[in-house]
Amino acid sequence: MAAIAISHLKRAWFNPMRLLLVEDDEVLARQLVAKLAAQHYAVDLACDGEAGWDYTQAVSYQLIVLDVGLPKLDGISLCRKLRHHNYQGSILLLTAKGDDADKVKGLDAGADDYVVKPCTTEELCARIRALLRRMGQAEQLILTWGDLRLDPSVCKVTYHDHCLSITPKGYALLELFLRYPQRVFSRSRLLEELWNFNDPPDESTVRAHIKLLRQQLKAAGIEEEVIETVYGLGYRLKPRSSSDTAVLPETSGSVREATTEIWQQVKDPFLERLSFIEQAIATFQAGTHSELLRSQAEQAAHKLAGSLGMFGYHEGSRLSRNIEQGCQFLYTPNLLSRLQQWVEQLHQEIHTAPTTTPTELGGQSTNTTGLTDNLILFSTPAEQAIVSGSQPSTVEARILAVDDDPVLLKGLQQMLSKWGMELLTLQTAEQFWYSLVDYAPDLVILDVDLSGCSGIDLCHAIRQDNRWNALPILFLSAHRNPETIHQLYAAGADDYIAKPFTEPELVTRILNRLERHRLIRLHSLRYDQDVNSETRA
């Protein structure tokens, strides 16, 4: 139950299966696109930084893979620009071998991770999966619906342990529904999610694919309906039992009613704003350019983006955000028609009833506390440290590090103590379980090769234990072969840093992990409280 709730914690709505690759090396790009397509991602490829930027203005990608050395606009600048323009998805950088300065610059520019080139497509795919998993915070490694199981790492679907034969698009659809169990996807939404710019079919194709998927699920012996049609809206994963659909608290009825009433008062002004944007686009299309008009249109879209979701028009907020970003480029003729499309869609959206189905709103679901996705606290030392770049007085974290290299352990001790972190080091895994209980660390650092046992096995064992399955685990390793990296992520590692690493890199990663862990814990705590109080009521 808690896992379902947490999987809804997204900062904003992204196309979960659609990725952007910005890479000018044609050979690598082609390999990657093929590999990612085989994993059922819809991949758009841009060959230079500026084209990459244009793509991001048209589609909300959940993850962008950026090469550092790009023509026109380099990867780090593009990364900075994206972050500056509120891009909240993950950014993975591809850096040249041994260029530590680039790694640090990249991470500081807002990248979430990097892979050193030349890299294998396997490693890159594992990194992408890990980042997507992290965005889903505590999202499960395996997605399930009753006895139906989908393992995204190997793209396998099983029912009662029998492997299902499903078409690639059917698989992608199923993964999407399983990832967002309470979300209703319209057909146009599914098109945007799962098909890239190069193969845009029409809505009847979606219908055909859904039909085929249903047949395939039925053929596998699943009697119940898995994908439900929501009339007038689209499709969603059928809730399995009442426990899957959380009950709204008592008070929410009245807040909802009030919201509906307020909507009646503000609907017309909102529509006026939309008309204004429409007129601005028309003016630009007619060739009359005015910076004032452009910025006013952008402003109007900004207001709509910030407000519509409060009234249940989640899709409306998303479209408005697209329009807001698009308005920065009103001078670009080929974007104008795209903008017009969004405005039309937004019109339709506002004229229909708001979504009362629990869906994601700016990333939050209306029936869970959705706390951490659009609330950002300023007071934690970790965040202060990351933002200001200064060292916090204390981070008050306890770290347990296991590595057979005493020199490295000593180095860690020096690095982390400067940040106020307490470190317990072990050269072998012998005392590990005892220390885990006794020291109760906030984060564990492991090496792949430990004397007497494998760090990966140890990681796996930690994940099997209920007490520690959420504990952040970070690997430090000189291993760069993709199999090992794949194995450690599969064993449940949260992050991996290749040796040698720099201090800022290590500290940033640790702070990030701690902060994420804190937010997840905070959320599940509140969620449990809510569930308890509901149960009592």
Binding site: A258, V266, G306, L371, I376
Partner: protein, 126 residues
């Protein structure tokens, strides 16, 4: 739960109304509203408040200037402030992070969740 008095400063009518409904109906808190920074500062000087929700992007006085004024006045400097913005980037910008505000709530927020977010940000739930 003790009653709180919250001031909301936002130039958007819809936002003021929604926050008012949300906090009143779910928590029975008292909500005061201001449509501009100037008006907000005047209310803050004369009313006893438990917290202020402040929109970042308003015409006229900007949020940083309002925060600064609140901090300079002995009467208002202890009132915790939560920023509201539809611009996520605000949460990364040092001038906001170090502005003395406690947290940022990104719009659109869920009116049913907002009260919990305020409680979390201000430590009112422990």
């Amino acid at each position: 739960m003790s009653t709180k008095r919250i001031l909301v400063i936002d130039d958007e009518f819809a936002v003021l109304k929604i926050i008012e409904a949300s906090l009143k109906l779910t928590r029975q808190w008292e909500v005061l509203v201001a449509e501009s920074g100037k008006e907000g500062l005047a209310i803050a000087q004369t009313e006893l408040l438990n917290a202020i929700l402040l929109d970042v992007m308003m015409p006229g006085m900007n949020a940083l200037a309002i925060l600064k004024e609140l901090q300079q006045s002995p009467r208002t400097q202890a009132i915790p402030v939560i920023l509201l913005t539809a611009t996520v980037e605000i949460a990364r910008q040092p001038e906001y992070v170090q502005s003395g505000a406690k947290a940022v709530v990104i719009k659109p927020f869920d009116p049913e969740v907002l009260p919990v977010q305020i409680e979390t940000a201000l430590g009112w739930n422990s």
